[in-house]
Amino acid sequence: MVCKKIRKELSSYLDNELSLNKRVKIEKHLKRCTNCSYRLEQLKKIHTLTQKALGREPKQGFYERLFPRLEEGEKRVGLKEKLFEWRYNWRLSLSPVGKMAVTISVLAIISLSLLYIWRSVSLPEINIEVFQQEYVRYNGMSSFAEELALPVILEIK
């Protein structure tokens, strides 16, 4: 949310149209936010290029019109670019301890998931006939049991 507000003010910041208070706030933010700094760098490049190309100042409101267009373009960024951006942000935004903590957490989650899958897959397998044989054996002890049929009932197909 803060970044969004700052980005809206960036073109005015470049044009020196902001109050001192706002400028200080933006500069403070730019020091810790790599995304907005990156955005400012882009705007600066565009600014320089347009100045070189046209040799004159852009019309008033040029940046206001440009900014939504840039945002629209950002939405169309492909997966490859997004991954690149993510890697860039990851490199810059987290401290080494934070990175380690995130890595350990992800590894722990993956390990636990694998362990759970392995356990459920590696449960001991028992043939149902083992239980049926026991059942037949208990029945065979009864005096009313079929003394001929029961001992062989599971074997006759």
Binding site: P124, I128, E134, Y135, S142, E146, A149
Partner: protein, 332 residues
Amino acid sequence: MRKSNIFLPAGRILRFIFIGLFFLLNLMVVPSLAVEPEEILCLSLEAQFQVDAEGIKETQVYRQEENYIIRAKIIYRKPDFSYILYLAPPMIKGRRILDNGKLRIEYIPGMNNPKHSSSLNSSLARKRREKSLNLILANYTISQLPDEDIAGREVYVISLVPQYPGSPGLKRWIDKETFLPLKQERYNSEGKLTFSSQFTEIHFGKKISEEELNDIPESVKDKGFLPRHQVVSDIEELKEISRFPLSFPKYLPSGYSFQEGVLLNGGKRVALIYTNGLETIVLFQGPPINLKIQGGREMPFGTKFRTDKGKTFVLIANISEEELTKIMESIE
């Protein structure tokens, strides 16, 4: 001499009176000595341990897909010896079951994998018989049907009709002289015939030679056999010695009660056995397992299983599918 001649007619009359009275008394007493069906049934449970007999027995197994007949030669010798030699069908021909009063050994000559279990005349088996009989007296209407002839012998016909619907039924033809069951028919909960066993020939009093009975290969003889599983009749004791908290079904079909618990594989798994005297419901429980099921064969009993609460339950009984589901769902 003369004197005796005078009293002779009177003596004869007295003799006739005594003989007449004797027959009259017999006519009055004999009916009161008639054996009750419950008593006949009870005597039939122990009869095989009190006869010397040899015969051929056939069991017909009735299935939806196909019926088949199992034929075997059976030898009983007092006090507790029995020997079964399977003659048919071909796939089990030659198999033997020998019970010497201590052990029951199932084996095939030439094969080294005999199965040992407790004798049918062990104290445990006798206790089970006693409990079964008490439950049968409580759960079944026992009646005597008109006498018949089986394998040339006069028999009592005893019928066991369940008092609770959904229970199996039984009919037994019992030899009048020895009380040995010569025929038996078993019906499922729907009253359909499932098994029919009958001696097609039987010879009593025949002494079986020691030689004939000693064809047991050395490899299958008792070599310090220890029962594989621990049997516990007391439910509280079972709860105490079980390695894990046991789950019990809240619902059981009418007439069934707890018979015993069996600790399998050193207590890793427990089997709870319930009976109504004739039929048995067995609930196995233990750590979760993957149950391997081979389909395609019709069994004379139903099987249900589920893995829940860190345990796998396997329920087996010859009762309706509906009852099996109700029991399984009631396990807590």
